[in-house]
């Protein structure tokens, strides 16, 4: 099939960006969306032009690197899907596809479709862990954990940190990301000792990074490639409120 692409081009963080239009021909329905971009980039190299920069790595939906905003939707039209797993059988000959980077002040553009998501790493640094040093652990089966809780914790832990939730949110809130981590750890007995400081500190870091507030729109859940549930946000709110009532001040 032959397609028209309107792609966001931006030389670097300081430059002003704009859309550039390309034609790509001979795209097969078996290609992935990123393989279609490979075709575009090979074409641009052949024409001695600069290829479009985009983040990608595992191309199997798990590393969280790929991050395209396709026709107004984070990771494109498929449900529970990353950009790399979107396949061209979705499109038909003659279609026009608009591709933008994640749009959020807290994710500044590095180049073209590549953004800086290091804010997520800093949120994890603020408390997204259990403080155990290597070598102290007791036998794994000495701590039975209710299967349902373990499964719920796992479901929250499947977040790939791609940032689609932020890109999809009109407020660019990172609540789904933060709540997934808080839930993963709060649901496990191992996470109990730091439960209160964790919620407070991670929320504070999220605010410091400039992410917006949650107004319960639900676009994050709808666009999340891993189906992280809004229930996690409710749990985060409970964790936060109970921490504040318990008198936990954010760490200085």
């Amino acid at each position: 099939m032959n397609l028209t692409l309107k792609v966001w081009r931006q030389k670097n963080n300081k430059a002003k960006g704009s859309f550039e239009t390309f034609k790509v021909n001979g795209i097969s329905s078996e290609m992935s969306f990123l393989e279609m971009f490979d075709v575009l980039n090979e074409q641009l190299v052949a024409e001695n032009k600069e290829p479009v920069a985009f983040d990608h790595d595992c191309r199997e939906g798990i590393c969280g690197a790929c991050s395209m905003y396709i026709n107004g939707r984070a990771h494109g039209p498929w449900h529970h899907n990353t950009t790399c797993q979107l396949h061209m059988r979705e499109y038909k000959d003659g279609d026009t596809i608009v591709v933008e980077p994640w749009r959020a002040n807290s994710f500044p553009v590095i180049k073209d479709l590549v953004v800086d998501r290091s804010a997520f790493d800093r949120i994890i640094q603020s408390g997204g862990y259990i403080s155990v040093n290597t070598g102290n652990a007791v036998d794994a089966n000495s701590l039975p954990i209710d299967k349902q809780r373990a499964d719920e914790s796992f479901a929250a832990a499947t977040c790939i940190g791609c940032g689609a939730c932020v890109a999809a949110c009109p407020n660019t809130s990172a609540m789904l990301f933060v709540s997934a981590k808080v839930s993963h750890l709060a649901l496990l007995p191992q996470g109990e000792p730091e439960r209160q400081t964790r919620a407070v500190n991670m929320i504070q870091q999220m605010d410091t990074e400039g992410f917006g507030s949650c107004t319960n729109i639900g676009a994050c859940e709808a666009e999340c490639p891993k189906g992280i549930s809004l229930e996690n946000i409710a749990r985060l709110n409970r964790e936060y409120i109970s921490s504040v009532f318990a008198g936990e001040e954010p760490a200085a």
Binding site: V45, E50, C58, N141, A150
Partner: protein, 658 residues
């Protein structure tokens, strides 16, 4: 130079214990003065950086991805082995050791493998303490499943996302050390070279991939945790960015490369669909717990799978290997699939695929579930629905992935699969302390060669990465750095840093100045084709000799005709890739030379000239029971060093899974 593997003396089961209780230590005040550089943040790198940070060393960690959490360990699916014997099915440290040595076709070191088996149980404990949500049974205890090449259930897992959960555990431990100031993290940075001073690794030249700037970093020691080199084949299950460059640069600086030709071809991957293909996707080995592999008994059978009656199906693994059935090791399963397809029994449009069928498992689980719920006369539809739910819980994400890629529903029709390049057992030669032949330079995880011999067993890569990082390097690092406490941090205006940076810069300038006509991608594809056809699942002397000449010609062409758009001092993925492909080309040549040198078949290395009458790999223990450690001697020049493998406990025999 004679290779000294530094295996501690004494009986196998006490080597590591003795080492740990007699190795030198560094006191806490001195640890704070010692700087360690870690390249790569996958399971090996993240766990090493976190563990060393916790101990008080000053660590700098580097990854080329935008976040350490994206390292390719994240994509590991099926599980991690540990000799816990939670299932009471006869597992033990010795059995895990034995299975691994046998699975590796007797080409691994006994001492290293025993240590790996010994620390495996602690890994599970550590990960649970970190909050890794492994799968559990209703009683609240951990669940296990089987992997290839074993007859016990020792694999711990988190659905089909075990690597993700383990890496997130290690990543969180790493980020905690970042927050405490013990680790400095450099994302979107690539190591360009190792800096040696007086023969010792004392730092690196790194490139900031956002700005293109070169940076100098000092370290008392440098750890390469940079993964494997499967992408030399262009198509593999590795991530697009996975590369050999850090290891290859170390090789050129004097680190010997061990068994480079030992490549693992994984039997169950989604088949290639066309020339556009950029990578291949694995379908976890854990699926072989429940999936049955078959092809039609009739050649060129073009009927749909569902139209082929049971008696006209050839479950060839169950037929050839009744003792292990569908759970034979990867090398054996891959060759068997290739054999069937080459003989004309393949399925799908390309005829280069076999079926992996879950119908029987769905009905079996459905019946158990129906009984549990008291529905003793449920009909087939109800049983099927219950069974599908069980299979979904076990492998849901894999089935979903398969459907997205192929557009077919594997609950309703069997998966089509074919072998693909997955892992590299070869890597930098290291001694028992994980140190390469360059003092102060270490290699951990897939980047080293040490534990898997000629074939890795499933669920053992995660185990090895974390064993090296959490439980081995913290001891061996201290033993070596104890002698280095008087070495002050060397300023990076030292002549060695200046010279190394200039060399890196010259190479980049040279690449950019070629301004040829052919894209980096095109060269990479051509290299991959040579490697897959002539140094892939089956190899012979003629093909390998041709491949060496073809790769040398390709290298010349690359350095005179590659086209790299953009500039040096900016975010330029084409330039990054060009440097990596240049290194892959050189590595490819060495792999072919190693494969040509090894006149035997063992594990994943199958030389067509050396096989038993029924097509099994035939080793030549009297001639090749050694590690081939290659020393770089200049462009296309190398010298072979041999480390003889000594088996005190296990007696090498013809591997049998029948």
């Amino acid at each position: 130079m004679p290779l000294n593997s530094k295996i501690p003396a004494g009986p196998l089961e006490s080597k590591w214990k003795t080492y740990k209780s007699t190795c030198k230590l560094v006191n806490p005040a001195n640890k704070r003065q010692l700087e360690i550089i870690v390249i790569g943040t996958g399971l090996a790198g993240a766990s090493a950086a976190a563990a060393l940070g916790e101990m008080g060393y000053k660590v700098k960690a580097f990854c080329f991805q935008d976040s350490p959490r994206r390292a390719h360990s994240i994509a590991a699916q099926g599980g991690i082995n540990a000799a816990k014997n939670y299932q009471n099915d006869g597992d033990s440290t010795f059995r895990l050791f034995y299975d691994t040595v046998k699975g590796g076709d007797y080409r691994a070191r006994e001492g290293n493998v025993y240590r790996l088996a010994e620390v495996s149980a602690s890994i599970i404990d550590q990960c649970v303490a970190q909050g890794v949500p492994f799968a559990r049974e209703y009683g609240g205890l951990l669940s296990n499943r089987s992997f290839g090449g074993t007859q016990v259930q020792r694999t711990f897992y988190a659905a089909g996302q075990t690597g993700q959960q383990l890496l997130i555990g290690a990543y969180q431990a790493l980020e905690r050390q970042v927050s405490l100031g013990n680790v400095e993290m450099y994302s979107r940075h690539e190591m360009m070279d190792v800096v040696k001073i007086d023969g010792v690794a004392r730092g690196i030249i790194a490139r900031n991939l956002v700005t293109g700037e070169l940076e100098r970093h000092f370290g008392h020691a440098v750890l390469l945790c940079s993964g494997g080199y499967g992408n030399v084949f262009y198509l593999s299950t590795n991530a697009m960015g996975s590369n050999v460059s850090a290891a290859w640069k170390a090789h050129k600086q004097g680190a010997f490369f061990g068994n480079p030709c030992f490549t693992q071809i994984h039997p169950t991957c989604i088949p290639v669909s066309g020339d556009h293909q950029s990578k291949l996707t694995l379908m976890s080995e854990s699926l072989r717990n429940d999936g049955r592999i078959w092809v039609p008994k009739q050649k060129n059978d073009s009927r749909k799978a569902s139209d082929i009656p049971e008696e006209e199906r050839d479950y060839y693994l169950e037929r050839r290997y009744p003792a292990f059935g569908n759970l034979v090791p990867r090398d054996v399963a891959s060759r068997a699939a290739k054999e069937r397809c080459d003989e004309g029994y393949g399925v799908g449009a390309s005829k280069m695929a076999v079926y992996l069928d879950f119908a029987a498992a769905i009905m079996r689980y459905g019946k158990i579930e129906a009984n549990k719920q008291g529905q003793h006369n449920a009909d087939a539809t109800a049983i099927r629905a219950l069974g599908e739910a069980v299979v979904k819980e076990k492998y849901g994400n894999l089935f979903e992935m398969y459907e997205k890629i192929t557009g077919e529903d594997p609950y309703k029709m069997p998966m089509r699969i074919y072998p693909a390049v997955h892992y590299t057992m070869g890597g930098l030669w290291v001694d028992y302390e994980l140190m390469t032949t360059v003092p102060g330079l270490y290699a951990l995880g897939e980047a080293n060669f040490s534990d898997h011999g000629a074939n890795r067993l499933g669920a053992s890569a995660l185990m090895q990465g974390l064993a090296d990082g959490y439980f081995v390097i913290p001891y061996t690092m201290g033993n070596n750095l104890a002698d280095d406490i008087r070495t002050k941090a060397i300023p990076t205006d030292h002549a060695a840093f200046v010279a190394a940076e200039k060399e890196v810069s010259d190479r980049i300038n040279k690449l950019m100045s070629i301004k040829g006509k052919t894209s980096v991608e095109a060269f990479h594809k051509r290299l991959g084709k040579i490697m897959w056809e002539k140094c892939g699942m089956a190899r012979n002397a003629k093909g390998l000799t041709e491949a060496i000449a073809e790769i040398q010609a390709l290298k010349k062409e690359f350095w005179s005709d590659v086209r790299i758009p953009g500039d040096i001092n900016e975010f330029n993925p084409e330039l990054d890739k060009a440097g990596r492909v240049a290194d892959f080309i050189e590595l490819g040549e060495l792999m072919c030379k190693d494969a040509l040198n090894r006149n035997e078949s063992c594990g994943g290395h199958f030389r067509e000239e050396y096989q038993t009458p029924d097509g099994e790999a035939m080793r030549q223990d009297d001639l090749y029971s050694y590690v081939a450690a290659w020393e770089y001697k200049g462009d296309s020049q190398e010298e072979l060093h041999k480390e003889d493998l000594v088996f005190d406990v296990v007696h090498p025999s013809q591997r049998s899974y029948k």
